[in-house]
């Protein structure tokens, strides 16, 4: 566990919020089904299977068929939550995600488990750092990266209510429950979790609590950093981005590839609508062996790295 998660705050595995919510939805809505690729355990769906044995569809180790079957279940009127390790779900079944789900506008909910570098030591085959870039490039695909248990629950509920394909990127890395004043989650809307007018730090997923810690450190040094939780990467909240650009400096941070993900989405908006100095924090490419926490620290995806990037980009602004 990295330095950023060593505190007295309780830590949560967001998969628990995911399965709890899917089970709750399934009680009152018999259209809810779960589809897995032999990933009942890693998706934590064992209890769902006990409660709804007919509604847990395990296709075995066959991701292309899993996503196609999900699209077929949606055709039959079901709301399928298709879960698997995000590295396999997205990469192996990419054309099914494009053609069967997005292009066909099928009502499929794709849940990428153990995303990012959660499987740190297992190496680049099992890292899922490209998924945000891949999925957000697909027209009509909603991409959500929740930051904590509350937001995971909200994202699952919003996805179930949303008519169309959604990718929800879940981690198994423990995160604290974030303090927030809003009790409302809306697809396509980001939220400001910490006010500041000098620089905007835009993060999502496991990076949000690290960004908040960075903002606290910056504040001690006299820098006002606004922290934006941009859970929905696609469609992105352009109003909030315009406000962020008005600070004059932006840092993005994600547990994913530097190219094409959240940082890419923010950069596209800024380049066209609000040019502003930026730093994009993420991984540079295939990663060496190491634990998830070591990888995050090694590549500056921690509070110190985020604060340092914020100071650098502020220098550029001046």
């Amino acid at each position: 566990m990295g330095a950023d998660t060593k505190s007295n705050a309780a830590l949560f595995d967001c998969r628990d919020a995911y399965v709890r919510t899917v089970e709750e939805l399934a009680v009152t809505d018999d259209r809810i089904v779960a589809v897995v690729n032999d990933s009942v355990g890693s998706s934590k769906l064992g209890k769902f299977r006990e409660r709804f044995p007919n509604r847990l569809i395990n296709v075995g180790i066959a991701e292309q068929n899993m996503v196609g079957v999900g699209a077929g279940l949606a055709n039959g009127g079901k709301i399928p939550f298709v879960s698997g390790a995000s590295c396999f779900l997205t990469a192996r079944a990419m054309e099914q995600i494009k053609a069967d789900c997005a292009y066909s506008n099928a009502n499929v909910k794709l849940c990428g488990i153990s995303s990012g570098v959660a499987y740190g030591e297992l190496g680049a085959t099992h890292h899922s750092i490209e998924d945000i870039a891949w999925l957000r490039a697909i027209d009509g695909m909603t991409v959500i990266v929740p930051s904590d248990p509350w937001e995971t629950e909200q994202a699952i509920r919003a996805a179930a209510s949303h008519d169309g394909p959604v990718y929800i990127r879940l981690s198994r890395m423990p995160v604290p429950a974030l303090e927030r004043t809003s009790t409302r989650f809306e697809i396509g809307k980001g939220e400001v979790l910490h006010e500041g007018a000098d620089v905007a730090i835009i993060a999502n997923g496991t990076m949000v609590h690290r960004a908040l810690k960075a903002a606290a450190a910056l504040k001690d040094g006299g820098v006002g950093a606004r922290v934006i939780n941009m859970a929905t990467v696609s469609p992105i909240d352009k109003d909030l981005l315009a406000d962020a650009a008005a600070t004059g400096a932006i840092v993005t941070v994600e547990e994913g590839l530097k190219q094409g993900g959240l940082g890419g989405a923010v950069a596209e908006f800024c380049a066209e609508s609000a040019p502003v100095p930026m730093r994009i924090l993420g991984f540079p490419g295939f990663l060496p062996t190491g634990s998830a926490s070591w990888l995050l620290d090694e590549f500056g995806l921690n509070a110190a790295g985020i604060a340092s990037a914020a100071r650098e980009v502020l220098d550029k602004r001046a």
Binding site: L73, G76, G77
Partner: protein
């Protein structure tokens, strides 16, 4: 054509005669579409025409005025490039106006080169890349199995398409689930885009492969409408096994110079060839 209970009436011979006439119309109409558009896939269209005609003009239980009714029979065109055959069948069944066939492949036409459900109600899923429709069809059948629904799901695949790995993922799972209301038809014309399937990546023994995956296998002449009608008979299908109909077909069927020629996978007839093709098809029903 089936009534509201999904039951077709008349003798097999009468029903086959009706389907035969509609198939002949489809062939003439789809060739005109390809000539007018200047592109298309006539070889595979003509190979699949009799299968589609049998489904759309006799077997499928669907209401053209309510094409998304939850209880409809599903037809999934896994060999999505053969839209000449699919669109003529759908228009002939009344799912959209026949006059719209003239828009085939034109800018912003609903009649895209590959079928699109968001453009055209009645298309169940967007296909085109091979290996996609079958897994989706399996998912549809699983949905029906969970609900104990009585609709049937039909999937038409090319034979070359069976070289895609996703097809066998789907076949394995459908056999495992015992999807008794799922019927797959293999358009076994033995020609893929470039060459004979057996010279490319051989499929035989094809029936044994399906049987090993837990399927009931039926072989038919894919241009014999009575044989097709019998193979589609719901009562004859086991309740706990999916059925595959391996339909022996001829790529380019009905137009002498196209038959069994890989070059007509996506060729376009010139005016003389088109006139000859029409003359041959008109003679068939004269």
């Amino acid at each position: 054509m089936p009534d509201s209970n999904g039951t077709s009436t008349g003798t097999i011979e009468d029903r086959a005669k009706h389907v035969r006439e509609r198939a002949n119309w489809m062939r003439r109409r789809l060739l005109k579409m390809i000539v007018d558009a200047g592109q298309g896939h006539p070889g595979g269209d003509l190979s699949a025409t009799d299968i589609l005609a049998t489904l759309y003009f006799d077997v499928l239980r669907l209401d053209p005025t309510n094409p998304l009714a939850p209880g409809r029979d599903r037809f999934v065109m896994s060999k999505g490039h053969c839209t000449g055959a699919l669109y003529t069948a759908m228009a002939g069944r009344g799912l959209f106006p026949e006059a719209e066939l003239a828009s085939y492949l034109k800018p912003r036409s609903r009649l895209n080169g590959h079928p699109n459900r968001t453009y055209l109600p009645g298309v169940e899923t967007n296909t085109g890349p091979l290996g996609h429709g079958f897994p989706v069809g399996v998912g549809i059948a699983v949905s029906g199995q969970i609900d104990n629904a009585d609709f049937r799901t039909f999937v038409l695949t090319g034979d070359g398409e069976l070289q895609e790995g996703s097809m066998w993922e789907a076949a394995m799972f459908a056999g495992h689930r015992g999807l008794g209301k799922l019927t797959v038809i293999v358009d076994r014309n033995r020609l893929q885009q470039g060459a004979n399937t057996e010279d490319t990546n051989g499929l035989e023994p094809l029936g044994d492969k399906w049987r090993a995956f837990g399927w009931e296998v039926v072989g038919v002449n894919g241009h014999d409408h009575a044989e097709l009608l019998r193979a589609f008979d719901a009562a004859a299908q086991p309740r706990d096994k999916p059925r595959v109909i391996i339909a022996d077909t001829c790529k380019g069927k009905g137009v002498s110079f196209m038959e069994n020629q890989a070059g007509w996978h996506h060729g376009v007839p010139n005016p003389e060839q088109y006139a000859q093709a029409l003359a041959e098809l008109e003679a068939e029903i004269a």
